[in-house]
């Protein structure tokens, strides 16, 4: 499938959690399939921290393949012959939606003058696009990791606008451990002299070293110990014995360095700071007097909560916490734990059990909603 970089400019003032009003708002988004006559077949897919809107077709800017090509497309589980699939770059991102690297009204990049945003703010921006497309109610909202947080925020803040919700490998709040890993990443970026207090765009530098270290640390959290061991073990990189130095002796070192160096080409360092901050601030229950189930009482659709057994970044316990709150709220919820050793990243990989669950859930939801 082909894709182009579509950007919608809205001259609205978007009220943010911080109290700021953001304007003008630009939203980079992609759609696949056709919206039906009664606008009842729209599926919103929410991407993860470093994802983008190119869920079903290659990214025309970076040339990267679609990140969920195995799930979204004609005849796939999220069937674009049947559903109108929408995916937007999140607020604060760097793929067309307003973010710190965007040019502000004064003609300069925002940098650190970009307002601090939250998951709820990202959902506000998505809702503005959905309004613009004239869609009252989404057939389904689906997302993994940070995308799952957006799914939860959708059903908490706009319960009538969602028919089916699927938060995958996600959490209703960021744990201390999650915040800790993010802080390591942010400190790595900010410790790079080329970060220039956030003003690297105007100074003509790029904090590639810091951002690359941030990505390396984060990447470890996406994989399980077992998967790392299976893939790399203690194997050495292009050598037969250790070199008694600090080159990449081990394959895992070489792999992480490669992941880090590849990431800086496609991602903005300040975006990384803003988006990780939004995730750290996420605590859905906080807006409901600490009772998570109260966040779900108004939602009358179906939900399917998916987790992966070896995910220690957003472990199955986080998903069970969501499920239990939904049960308490009387939500029609199913919960699915995929047995896998691939860790958090499993939601992006070919996991037949996970795909079966999604197919079953979407088919039942479509039958419920008369699609």
């Amino acid at each position: 499938m082909t894709s182009t970089l579509q950007i919608l400019r809205l001259d609205i003032g978007l009220p943010l959690d911080s109290g700021a009003i953001f304007s003008p708002l630009e939203i980079g988004y992609e759609t696949w399939g056709e919206l039906n006559a009664d606008k009842s077949n729209a599926v919103l897919i929410c991407h993860a921290l470093t994802g983008d809107q190119f869920v079903a077709g290659p990214n025309p800017v970076t040339g990267q393949p679609a990140w969920w090509a195995n799930l979204v497309g004609p005849g796939r589980i999220i069937d674009t012959n049947r559903y109108f699939v929408i995916c937007t770059n999140v607020l604060g991102g760097c793929m067309g939606t307003s973010g710190p690297a965007s040019i502000g009204p004064d003609g300069q990049p925002y940098g650190l003058s970009f307002p601090v945003i939250t998951i709820a703010d990202m959902v506000r921006a998505q809702a503005a696009l959905i309004d613009h497309l004239g869609i009252e109610r989404l057939f389904a909202v689906i997302g993994g990791s940070m995308g799952g947080m957006q799914v939860l925020e959708w059903i908490a803040s706009r319960p009538d606008r969602v028919g089916a919700a699927m938060p995958i490998a996600s959490a209703a709040r960021h744990s201390a451990q999650n915040i800790a890993f993010h802080e390591v990443g942010r400190q790595a970026v900010m410790a790079d002299p080329d970060w220039q207090g956030g003003a690297y765009q105007t100074k003509g530098t790029k904090p590639v070293k810091g951002l690359s270290v941030a990505r390396m640390a984060a990447h470890i959290t996406y994989l399980s110990d077992a998967a790392l061991h299976r893939k790399f073990g203690r194997r050495l990189q292009d050598r037969n014995e250790v070199a008694f130095g600090f080159d990449a002796d081990f394959q895992i070192e070489s792999y992480l360095r490669y992941q880090g160096s590849r990431f800086v080409d496609r991602f903005d360092a300040n975006s990384y700071l803003y988006i990780t901050r939004a995730m750290d601030y996420f605590d859905l229950a906080a807006g409901f007097n600490g009772r998570l189930s109260d966040a779900f009482t108004a939602f009358k659709g179906r939900a399917c909560v998916v987790s992966f057994s070896s995910d220690w970044h957003y472990p199955p316990a986080d998903s069970r916490h969501i499920t239990r709150a939904m049960i308490g709220a009387g939500v029609e919820v199913s919960a699915f734990e995929v047995e896998t050793d691939k860790g958090h990243d499993a939601f992006l990989l070919d996991e037949p059990q996970f795909h079966e669950a999604m197919a079953g859930f979407l088919a039942a939801s479509a039958a419920d909603q008369g699609l």
């Binding site: 069970r320 499920t323 239990r324 199913s334 669950a357 859930f361 039942a364």
Partner: protein
């Protein structure tokens, strides 16, 4: 708490006890065979809870709304009166605290349907009496050290516990050799001798029959 057979005599009775369009929670729903039939044959609004992740996954893949949970711990999550009927089929004998489970069911649904193996069945009694060993029968196929059953009881024992937990008996149906008899209004010593398995339809005490 798993179920294998697709046609089970207790399932037939349970399906019969569920009115059209009822909201049903199946506690220990296995791979969802009963839930699926209730949805198809009774147009019921069905939810399930199952201990084994494999069972849960099988249900979700079929489009059933099922969560992983333990009857002993997780029934407390459900709001009061959230279902018309709560089903517990061949599960109560495997729970750690059967009385607590029954009380939770009483709180969650107006009616409860419980099927269980009857330790008072004549074959069981005879086996224990003559052989002096824990019975291994068609209804209780596992040896004492392999069984998941923690709290086996007789039909009369369960009747007592159900009443103690605030239920009135609506009917009890005897199953022997895979065949169900006509439902009875009350338990009896004879029924206890003759039932290999029993299905109790219970309603909250003081409620009129529907």
């Amino acid at each position: 708490m798993s179920k294998a057979a697709s046609t089970r005599a207790d399932h037939e009775i349970i399906i019969h006890a569920v009115p059209q369009g009822a909201r049903v929670l199946d506690v220990g729903c296995g791979d969802g065979v009963l839930l699926h039939r209730l949805k198809q044959e009774r147009n019921a609004v069905v939810r399930g809870m199952e201990l084994s992740q494999a069972g849960v996954n099988a249900c979700v893949a079929k489009g059933l709304s099922v969560v992983q949970g333990d009857a002993d711990l997780d029934l407390a999550l459900y709001p009061d009166d959230s279902f018309d009927i709560v089903v517990l089929s061949r599960t109560i004998q495997a729970t750690r605290r059967p009385e607590m489970v029954l009380k939770q069911m009483h709180r969650i649904g107006a009616k409860a349907v419980v099927s269980l193996p009857n330790f008072g069945f004549w074959q069981v009694r005879l086996s224990l009496f003559l052989r002096g060993r824990m019975p291994v029968t068609q209804g209780l196929p596992d040896s004492w050290h392999e069984t998941e059953n923690l709290h086996l009881c007789t039909l009369l024992d369960f009747d007592d516990l159900a009443k103690q937990s605030g239920f009135d008996l609506e009917s009890v149906t005897r199953i022997a050799a895979g065949k169900a008899s006509a439902p009875s209004r009350a338990t009896s010593s004879l029924l206890n001798w003759l039932s290999e398995e029993a299905v109790f339809v219970l309603k909250r005490a003081g409620m009129a029959a529907r």
